[in-house]
Symmetry: C2
Subunit: 114 residues, 2 copies
């Protein structure tokens, strides 16, 4: 029960600054200073936020000269989407009818892809 990787992902996304950073990274990779620019906090604080996102697996950082380029890794988001799907029937009326059919169809399609 301790140290479920999902814990870190949810915790990382609970901060609005970190979600804003992710939104920025969804449009392409960026350096720490570029990511820090829009925020009224210090670069060090943003660096800490990036460390949290990295620990959660949401970003990866690669060294490039004196810069550290950050890019988004969507894998944990996909995990979260799957977690949420456990509960989809609770709010989606069509989950047990049309949606189930379409979901199954999509899965079949994925199996046939390389």
């Amino acid at each position: 029960m301790t140290a479920d990787p999902v814990d870190a992902v949810f915790a990382a996304l609970a901060d609005p600054t970190r979600r804003a950073i992710l939104a920025r990274l969804a449009t392409g990779a960026a350096t720490v200073n570029e990511l820090a620019a829009p925020f009224p906090i210090s670069v060090q604080a943003v660096s800490k936020h990036l460390a949290v996102l990295e620990r959660a697996g949401l970003i990866v950082r690669t060294r490039e000269a004196q810069w550290r380029r950050c890019r988004l890794d969507p894998a944990p988001l996909r995990t979260l989407a799957e977690w949420l799907d456990q509960y989809r029937r609770l709010w989606d009326d069509h989950y047990d009818t049309l949606d189930t059919y379409l979901r199954d169809l999509r899965e079949t399609h994925h199996e046939h892809a390389p």
Copy 2:
């Protein structure tokens, strides 16, 4: 930027005990003692967890005699699913082709429903 309701939902879900409580409530309503039984922590601690879930909108509590019945409200989960959909194209290869078509089809279907 301050006090985005999504903050509280992500923060609430970051705790494994609270996620376990939600999983239990997905199978039906329950009282505080019933919810607390499986956990090695005090009833008061569970009561605090329920307060967090309630503040996030994930559960509602109604008084029934000396019991307080808790039931799950999936609305915030739906909000989260929509938030995640912003990023779906990043991990779902078929988002821009088949999935988009199916998604549009489902939306049309919803419009026609009462």
